[in-house]
Symmetry: D2
Subunit: 341 residues, 4 copies
Amino acid sequence: MLYFNNDYDQGTHPEILQRLTKINFDHQVCYGMDPHSKRAGELIADACGNKDAEVFFIAGGTQTNQTVISSVLNNYECVIAAKTGHISLHEAGAIEYSGHKVQTLEQYNGKLRAEDVDEYMNLFVNDSSHEHMPQPAMVYISHPTEYGTLYTKNELEDLSSVCEKYGLKLYLDGARMAYGLMAKNTDVTLKDIAKYCDVFYIGGTKIGCLFGEAVVFSKSKAPKHFITSIKQHGAMLAKGWLAGVQFEVMFENGLYFKAGQHAIDMAQKLSALLVEKGYKLFVESPTNQIFVLLKDDEFKALSEKIVFGFWEKPDKEHTVARFVTSWATKEEDIQLLADVL
Amino acid sequence: MLYFNNDYDQGTHPEILQRLTKINFDHQVCYGMDPHSKRAGELIADACGNKDAEVFFIAGGTQTNQTVISSVLNNYECVIAAKTGHISLHEAGAIEYSGHKVQTLEQYNGKLRAEDVDEYMNLFVNDSSHEHMPQPAMVYISHPTEYGTLYTKNELEDLSSVCEKYGLKLYLDGARMAYGLMAKNTDVTLKDIAKYCDVFYIGGTKIGCLFGEAVVFSKSKAPKHFITSIKQHGAMLAKGWLAGVQFEVMFENGLYFKAGQHAIDMAQKLSALLVEKGYKLFVESPTNQIFVLLKDDEFKALSEKIVFGFWEKPDKEHTVARFVTSWATKEEDIQLLADVL
Amino acid sequence: MLYFNNDYDQGTHPEILQRLTKINFDHQVCYGMDPHSKRAGELIADACGNKDAEVFFIAGGTQTNQTVISSVLNNYECVIAAKTGHISLHEAGAIEYSGHKVQTLEQYNGKLRAEDVDEYMNLFVNDSSHEHMPQPAMVYISHPTEYGTLYTKNELEDLSSVCEKYGLKLYLDGARMAYGLMAKNTDVTLKDIAKYCDVFYIGGTKIGCLFGEAVVFSKSKAPKHFITSIKQHGAMLAKGWLAGVQFEVMFENGLYFKAGQHAIDMAQKLSALLVEKGYKLFVESPTNQIFVLLKDDEFKALSEKIVFGFWEKPDKEHTVARFVTSWATKEEDIQLLADVL
Amino acid sequence: MLYFNNDYDQGTHPEILQRLTKINFDHQVCYGMDPHSKRAGELIADACGNKDAEVFFIAGGTQTNQTVISSVLNNYECVIAAKTGHISLHEAGAIEYSGHKVQTLEQYNGKLRAEDVDEYMNLFVNDSSHEHMPQPAMVYISHPTEYGTLYTKNELEDLSSVCEKYGLKLYLDGARMAYGLMAKNTDVTLKDIAKYCDVFYIGGTKIGCLFGEAVVFSKSKAPKHFITSIKQHGAMLAKGWLAGVQFEVMFENGLYFKAGQHAIDMAQKLSALLVEKGYKLFVESPTNQIFVLLKDDEFKALSEKIVFGFWEKPDKEHTVARFVTSWATKEEDIQLLADVL
């Protein structure tokens, strides 16, 4: 069987396993207050070009979104997101469970448009009954998006401007950020993200950590007592250093970026191979998720030899399949795929 | 100034004031456990054609929606509503504050279509990742809708069927129910509502109570310890009998229906007058809310003599105005309006 | 039957009924934005000796406590209260439902001691694991307490000082405040309350309003978008002016204070009568709640002729009964009671 | 420096690291739906003597308590716990954040007494105002307790009986369960726990997993859609198999029990050593937490050579210190300690 199912179905980088083994019996300070987490935070702040950035580590993505959003928002506030945003669709109502509405706007290949936010907010502030609505206080975007697409630097800047105009915080979900940063032709760097976003997270799980996401408050300060909020959401690990150590390994010698680059290289080969074999791409994704339009019987036939994802059915005869490369994809698997297609 | 602004900007029926005065110094059982509330509940159950219906009184509409929805739903469940549903737009995120997502579907003049619910649920149950989404457990509709439109009996039946098919509860927000029941050409009776809906509320505030909404569990039983949930939501009045007494007056001699009939009669005259004067109706509303398409300067000019509502701007040159009649609208005001138009 | 059961089992002052009748058909601005509510707020601010005080009207006590506390607190914060505080015991977990812990401390006849708060906070801030606990941010007291007792001015000042020392807000639940202000020998005025408390509410329901509590932010400003929070909690009445009008009547000619004075006079007579008849008072209450220690058979015998409350069983042979006078207690009822005892 | 600080400041068992390394590049089913988690669940169900037990894996303890308690309780329900229960004191209000009151009762060396629960419930159900209080629906205990003490089988049985009497679920927090099961003289086995408790969790973090707690529904079924609730609480790991694999290693050859035994052996030696050296034990703890009463200057002096915990100050001259052994404590450290004392 060939696996192009997702980017989180395998363990971790050997360097991470080695480091965890090396320090296994060291006595650590618990709850994320340890020197490894501190150093990882400094490495990340440095990579963000902002020494004052505050960095916290949380185990998973939904947990991170819930903890960050509900800690930044006041009780009467809501968050704006694209219809296809992860918090809108696939987090089991975690944001609403914490008390906040997710106000959805139209999406364009997974992206939110600054002008739509502007128009929505303009209507909102001019609506005489707006005190009867939750007050928008944050814009949530993902980069790459759920469709593997990327914002340009200009688009980020525009979103940032419209957020400033209306006093909204800009929050970027970077579950797959590494794959976005290393994409061909992107003009968005980690420093840009740190410059334009009030808060964002650098995903670890999908780039080869066992678990762990790094929350970075860059333009804004972390909310008061954010540590207490993390604990209150059940998001504090007793052995918090484990996340810190993994990000230390990731950022001390550029492993984070190399792992992203590898997956992009593999995705480019995969994508080229699919086109060469006559398949039609459904979205032009510059990152590690490749969406292919298949006839239903093709989908079925390929499923017998390859593990990949069902994405959606655009019509009665076709299915969109998602092929994903990762930090761990082997070049030989692309070659084996060529034989199967 | 002429007032066609809404149906809740005046006090209450003289009969209600008289009754409150009459019993003013009686010693009552508190917290809604009194004989007046009991009798009002029985009168309502009788009007619903279901002696087993359980009736509770709550002060306001948003409070009722929040208390009912969050008490019927389990923590992992969400409620389906039209985009224009009151809980979707104008309750300040009260449902989300209680932890539940409002899953919006398309609206058609304010109405939700059974086939859309069916299609959504069909996709949902066949989506292999549906455990990662909040589980739909209730459908929320309003009757009349926010656009003054009405479901037909067939439409209610279809919604009820699709709800049964997927194990959803059907909840009807009847803030303006009296105006719907007394509309011309409607084939929906209170008994139909009680037959097709698991739970609904009969609005008192907008039909001339000082406050108060009657929650009716008809097809379904009330959730266990619903009294405790009411208290927990801050929705229990110490002097609970006040709501009971008002509904007693409303239902003992048909005042509820007469008040609705009066407003419909006034709305028909108002609507005919507007058409006669050459105005264009924006929605064909059979109830007490009349939506008129005005040029922006007409809107401005009329605003100087008449109090009515801004509804929306469909384009740059026009504005939709909302004229509302009520239980208290005087016939002479329609005549005065004729002079002004 | 004679009624000394509670102070909220009868309707309202005739003046309030008259006023409601008088303005019944006036067209009002809705949702509490009306001139009556504005004027009532000004009258209250004036009585508080603080023209900048912000006043809001909410229908009931539990709703007020939930809305105020959850709006003032951040998500990671908790409120300190006496074990016997109303929010600790009799609000169906409404505060916890809004996400906040009620941290209870020892009570002394219903009162919280400043030194206990000081000691608790001192331990808290010096506990190295205090980031693993909800952060105390508010102290809740009731005046009169649930036992009818009163704070002295010195005690209020001490609580206020300890709150300032630790950055806590002081919140006073004045469900029965009128009965406290008019008690014999109290040195606490409404102006003192407004001076020492960040926020408090003046109860209307128990002093003869149909419903309504006036929230006053005096030392502190109201939280941002408090109107939205009120709506979100379901605590906004469409006919909001009804609460405003009642408080207007209460404060324009001192009815609020006269009504309190009357109940205190009645309570003094009642209390003297009980002592004269050889009954033992359980708590020395200076307000309108009188607690009497009865033998179980006395309790049973009196219950056949008088409606009064069960409070608690201090031992196997005795029961504590609660007799309550109110704004509506008639002097002749005290005389009738003398015959029964 | 010698470390007796806690049982979660070091990594994991070498067998676990080896297994994680061995399967590192295997492609796994995600979100805990993998064969490793399935097998771990079966091994645990088997050890519990209940093949129908349902087992779920969650990353940390507070998260587990929050997810389990808020999923089992209805919105109007509360949980009963000892004053010193972990959910009462050290989880940053996580239970209240999920909407539920923690009703505390007296503790006896960390334990809750069945007769206290009985008395509380008896008063509750006979209190005529109990619909104005959150409805108790669960009893929370920890075994070992926060003081390292243990319930006897009889005590567990009594708690179970009183729970059945009042329709309460019994939930046991087994963060340190292994240390309890392997204690000298305990008559409580894992099968007893599975027999008497509706739901409990077997802690992994404190017995040498990197992270992970195994939730076991034994007497009761798991709540409907518990997977959705896990996701909604942010408690679902993408690489869920990591927890499954660790528990697989723990339970396939008894490592879980051996690790517990080792710590108990070390604790016995430590405890004997302290007594031999003239120190006074503060609580008779049969498990891996040893509480010692030290003079303040002794505490300070020892702190320079040994890392151990501050527990509390029973008076002005003394401090209670907590010494903890673990799955990783080395025998030579006890010997080194002998030299230091």
